[in-house]
Symmetry: C2
Subunit: 214 residues, 2 copies
């Protein structure tokens, strides 16, 4: 019974996501669904990405949070077009939420739209929102056991950004194991090691992004 409800919800969601994607394609905007657990650094990666690419790409953002507008304010202060969704309790964004806000952005002026999902390493991976690609973050402070414990997000993502590598000397995290287990779940996964705090490794990520968008 529970499975039946979920199947129906997912089917309806996928139809709406396909409609969103057509609108994005027609407007010529490439869309990334950015996912991670809470506090892995999604907004910090967005800030670094917007600063690094501001002269090359026009980037817009949809911020998804259960409550609050902190993240949208951080993006707005960089001059990027941004809309905040408050899910009011829901633990992930769905396609319908994106439909409701996407026309508030200047889609035709954008090259790249990044949708920052709710901080949750589980549910967001199940719901398409109209993206071209899913990207996930993992903070190395979360530990090296995460790929095998949360396999779906690693399987669904095209890229994994391993953040907070500046904390590596102070944790027990085994980055080699994270990479090995991630690639065993998804051999095509692109992996970037970065520190949004120090800026280390950001350039490799933004260079790759540019190759996708143009």
């Amino acid at each position: 019974m529970k499975v039946k409800v979920l199947t129906n919800i997912l089917e309806a969601n996928d139809r709406i996501a396909a409609d969103n994607r057509k609108v994005f394609n027609d407007a010529g905007v490439y869309v990334i669904n950015l996912m991670s657990g809470p506090g892995a650094g999604k907004t910090s990666l967005l800030e670094r990405t917007i600063k690094e690419l501001s002269s090359k790409l026009k980037i817009g953002v949809i911020e998804g949070d259960i409550a609050g507008t902190d993240d949208a304010q951080r993006i707005e202060s960089l001059g990027a077009p941004v809309v905040q969704i408050n899910t009011g309790g829901a633990c992930h964004l769905d396609a319908n939420m994106i439909t409701e806000v996407m026309y508030d952005l200047p889609l035709k002026d954008l090259d790249l739209l990044i949708i920052e999902n709710v901080g949750n390493l589980v549910c967001p991976a199940e719901f398409k929102v109209g993206e071209n690609m899913k990207v996930m973050l993992l903070s190395i402070a979360e530990g090296h056991d995460k790929p095998l414990k949360y396999p779906l997000m690693f399987q669904e993502s095209s890229a994994l950004v391993l953040n907070k590598i500046d904390l590596l000397p102070y944790t027990n995290a085994d980055v080699g194991k994270i990479k090995k287990d991630s690639l065993s779940l998804n051999p095509q996964l692109k992996i970037f090691e970065v520190s949004c705090k120090t800026g280390e490794g950001i350039r490799g990520w933004t260079d790759w992004l540019q190759t996708l968008v143009k």
Copy 2:
């Protein structure tokens, strides 16, 4: 429509949770529902707690994970009775899952049962499982903006264990803000600052636990 489905699921869940709780009460075991985002250190806190209290309390554990048995193996190696639940995708434990496994534990021999929920800062807070008390962890590496962005878990929990304080010198996290915002959401919240890595602060937590269980 979505709200209606969720309401029915929650009502059914709460009835089953009340049944579980009666079984636990009759067996004389105090039950904690332990929740956090991924990688905040729930299993490490369990390890520290079991070691610290092994001569005083008989502790059993139910491990909830989407996949894998790593956590249950870590607990079993300490000699504590443990059962692993694999949710197969579901992002939280519900009462029915607990009903299915709880009789595999020697309930009458236990003083304290800790149910380690799936790593998720959102959904587990909505589902009772039969606990006497909810406790949440937050790693200071997750950042100080979490209480206002994920309010429900802070409101539902009786205690907040702030873990990884050994990383404080290497992050921008503002512990004062975490405490202030957490208490604004839940003035009764007990807050413990600990490092499961170094052992700092664990004693305050286990002393408090003992006063509840006795």
